[in-house]
Symmetry: C3
C-alpha cells in the first residue's frame, strides 16, 4: 500500500483490508512500541467542512505514532475563499506534508485530490459518497467482538436509504462473504436496489427486509443503528408514528442475545437511549477507539513506516519462504 | 490528584492548591528538566466558545511538558452542530486524549463533562460560573510577589458584582485566611452578599467596602483590577461620572506602596492605562506566565506524571517517615 | 539576526538575505540533520485573517525543525473580539512562545507587534503592505533556478499597480542590482512611480514598460505572473478585451526560452492555464517549497538555533581568521 491513496475501499483487496485490521489490533496491544514510528512525518488534515470527530481521530492517530499535524477545518479558513481549486491546494500542501486526509462536501473531491497530490491522500468523507475509514472502524469493531467478519447475522436499522456508512459496510462485508443481513427500516427508508443487488451477487450472503426491530433483534449478532431524520418523511404523522420503532432502549435490548454488539457511526441524537451506554453490548464508543486504531494502521501503511515488532502474515510468509531458500 | 478532574477549586484541599503552586514554582526554575515529562501524553482542548488566551495557555503547558495537543475552538467546528451532547463528545474524545480542558458558555458543562469522561477533565471556564485555573494563576502571582497568601491587604476594584474571577479569588483566599479585603466599587456594582458572607465566616479575614480607589490605594499590597462595563449601568450619566474613578493610571499609582502588585485577569480594555505596564508593580503579564505554569503543574499532576527532580513536601515527609520506619 | 524581528526586508542587509537563501538551500539538502534543531522551541501563528497557505508554511517550517506550534486563524477566534489590542495579545503570547508569526489586515500591525513583543516577530503579511517571506521565497526560487539573482531579465506581468509581492520583489532585486526589468501590464495597472524610481536609482538595473506579453516573453529569464482582477477596471469591456493578454497558456509559453522560470505567488485563479503546470518552466509549486525552506532558515536564525553541519560564509570567514590568530 506504500505511497498509494485511499479514496474508496474498492482501492484495497480484502487481503489488504484484513492486513489493516490485523495491524490495528497489533497497535492496540503495542502502543508504546509504535509511539515513535512516524517521527518526522507530517499529516495534513484538509477539512473543507467541519467534522470534529473524524478530524481529531486522524490527528490523534498521527500524533500517537510520533508524527505531527498541520491543517484547517472549515472552508472559511482556507484559500478556497480566494477561489483556489482543490488541485492547487493539494499540490501546495504536498510540499508541506507527507500524507493528506481530506474531507469535502462534494462527491469526487477526494479522487480529484488524490490525482493532484504528490503524497498519499486519504478520503475522510466526500459528500454522501464515501468514507472508507468509517467502514474500517466498523469492521475492526465487529472483528474485535467476534474474532471474524463472516458467519454473522448483521442487522442494520433505521435510515437505510440515505446512510452512506450502511451501504459501504454492506458492500464491504459482501466482499468477505458469509453474512446474513437483516435490513430493518420503514417503507420510506428501504435499502436501495444497487445495495440489494450487491448482496444477491455475493454467493454466500443472504438478506431479509423487515419493518419491526423487536421482531428480529433476538436473531442478531450485530445491530448497526442509524438515525431516522424527520426531514426524510412526507408528513409528520408518519414520522411520529414510526420514530419510536427505530429507537434502541433497554426494553428492546432485553430481547437481544447477550453477545450482540450495538454499533452506531455517531453522532447520535436520540436513536439510542443513553441508558444503553452502560450495557456491555454497546460497542459504539469502542468503535471510536477502533476508528483511531485503523487510522494509525492506515497512515503508517501508506507512509511505508514499519511498526516495531509487527510482522504481517504476508511478510511472515515471505520470510519463511526466504528462510527455506536460504 | 492523579486521575481526578478539576471542575471547581472546591475539588482541591488548600494543601493540594499549595502543592500546585509549589510545583508551578519548581517548573519555572527547571524548564529543561520537565521538558519531556509528558512525552506520549495528549491533551484535548474542547473550546465551545473562543478564548484564545486560555486555550493557548493550556496548549502551551502541555507542549512545554513534551506532550501533544488536539482540539477545536468555536462550536461551529464541532459535532455540536449536528446536535451531539457534551457527554457523547467527551466520551468520544476520551478515546483519543489522556486529559481534557473544556470551555463552554453554559454553567455546569464542565461538571457534566467530568462525569462522562474516561480521563481527567479541567474546567477552562463554564459560563459566568467557574474558571479555577484563572484563580490558580492569581494565587501563583501573589505568592511569587510576596512569598505568601496570608497577612496581606488585597484590594479588588471595579465590577465586583459580575466578575467571576473576583468571587473565586476572594473565596479561595478565605480558605487560606489572614486576608484583609478592600472592596472598591460603585454602588451599582457591589460585592454580592454570598461573597461577603464567605469573608465573614473566615475567622482571620476582614473587609471594608469603599467607592474611591485613590482613598485606599496606599494601604494595598495587591490591587486586583476589573473592567467596569457601560452595559451594567442604568444611565450613561452615571457611567461617565464613575468610569474614571476605576481606571488605574500613573497618577493613582503614585499614591500606592512601592511593593504593591497590580493584577488583572485580562483582556483589558482601558481600565489600566498602558503607561502602567512599564511600572514594576504591574504584575498582569506575569499573571499570564503564572497561568501557564499552574496549568503545567495541574496537567502533570492529574496525569500522574512525575517531574524529574521535584519532590513535594508531602512526598518528602512521607519519604522521611518511610526511612525512619526502615 | 538572533532575537530580532522581521517586519520588512529593509530590516535585513543584502548579506543577511543571501545568508538566509544559503541556509534554505542547505536545509533542503540536509532535512534529517536539522530535524531536531528547534526541539523545545514554540512558534505562535497569530493569523487575524485567514491565509492557509502562509500559515501552514510557517507551521510546517517549525515542525520540520523539531519545534512545536500554537496559534489561531481568523479574528473571531481571538480575544480581539473582546476588544484587546494587538500589543496586549502579543505581550501575552510572548509568555507562551519563543517566536511569533503575525498576519493582520491592517498595515503597520506587524511593526506594532514587534515593538510590544518579548520575542522575535515575523511579519506574515500586513494588509497590502509587506509580506517579506513571500519575497524571500521568490528570491530562493530564482536562485535555485539560475544560481544567482543578478544578470537576469525579469518580467512581471499583470496587475503591477496593486500587487505588493511585485513591488517588494522589484525593490529587493534592485538592492542586489544587475536586473533588467520588463514590466508588462495594461495602462490601467502600470507600476507605481515610486517603484520605477527605485529601479532608476539602482545603478545597474534597467526597465521597459510594455503592454503585450507575447512580444517580450522570448527575452525573459523569469516571468512573474499576477492576477488581473475585474474590480480594477472602470468598465467590463476593457476588462474582457485585456484579460486574455495576461493569461499564460501553452501557446504563449511556446514563445519563451527553454530555461525561463514561471513564478506566481499563488493562489491563482485562471491567469496561468493548468496545462502549464506540467511544463518544466513552471516554478510556482517549487516556490511553495522554497517558501517553507526560507521560513525554516528564518525561524532558526531569529531563534539563534544552530543547524548541525551548517557553516555560514561569514562564520567560516571568522573561523579562518580565528585559526590564523591562534
Amino acid at each position: 500500500m506504500i505511497g498509494r491513496s485511499l479514496v474508496t475501499l474498492d482501492d484495497l483487496s480484502t487481503g489488504q483490508i484484513q492486513e489493516l485490521l490485523d495491524k490495528a489490533h497489533y497497535i492496540d496491544g503495542h502502543r508504546g512500541e509504535v509511539a515513535d514510528s512516524c517521527k518526522g512525518r507530517l499529516l495534513a488534515t484538509l477539512f473543507y467542512e467541519p467534522s470534529t470527530r473524524t478530524r481529531l481521530s486522524f490527528e490523534t492517530a498521527m500524533l500517537r505514532l510520533g508524527g505531527q499535524v498541520i491543517g484547517f477545518a472549515g472552508a472559511q479558513q482556507s484559500s478556497v475563499s480566494k477561489g483556489e481549486s482543490i488541485s492547487d491546494t493539494v499540490k501546495t500542501v504536498s510540499n508541506y506534508a507527507d500524507i493528506i486526509a481530506i474531507r469535502h462536501p462534494k462527491e469526487g473531491a477526494a479522487l480529484v485530490a488524490s490525482r493532484a497530490a504528490g503524497v498519499p491522500v486519504i478520503n475522510a468523507g466526500d459528500g454522501g459518497h464515501m468514507h472508507p475509514t468509517q467502514t474500517l472502524a466498523d469492521l475492526a469493531t465487529i472483528t474485535s467482538r467476534f474474532g471474524r467478519l463472516t458467519g454473522l447475522t448483521v442487522g442494520l436499522c433505521g435510515d437505510l436509504t440515505f446512510g452512506r456508512t450502511v451501504h459501504s459496510l454492506i458492500e464491504t462485508l459482501c466482499r468477505f462473504g458469509g453474512v446474513n443481513f437483516v435490513l430493518i427500516s420503514p417503507e420510506e427508508l428501504k435499502t436501495p436496489q444497487y445495495v440489494i443487488d450487491c448482496i444477491k451477487e455475493s454467493p454466500s450472503c443472504s438478506y431479509t427486509e423487515v419493518k419491526d426491530l423487536t421482531q428480529v433483534i433476538g436473531d442478531l449478532d450485530v445491530l448497526y443503528m442509524t438515525r431516522v431524520q424527520k426531514e426524510r418523511f412526507f408528513n409528520e404523522d408518519d414520522y411520529l408514528r414510526l420514530r419510536d420503532s427505530y429507537i434502541l432502549d433497554a426494553g428492546k435490548l432485553a430481547l437481544a442475545k447477550r453477545t450482540m454488539a450495538v454499533l452506531h457511526p455517531l453522532p447520535r441524537v436520540n436513536e439510542i437511549a443513553v441508558e444503553v451506554d452502560a450495557d456491555p453490548r454497546a460497542a459504539y464508543f469502542e468503535q471510536v477507539r477502533n476508528g483511531m486504531l485503523v487510522r494509525m494502521a492506515l497512515e503508517s501503511s501508506l507512509l511505508g513506516v514499519e511498526l516495531p515488532g509487527y510482522e504481517s502474515v504476508g511478510a511472515a510468509g515471505m520470510k519463511q519462504e526466504q528462510e527455506v531458500k536460504d
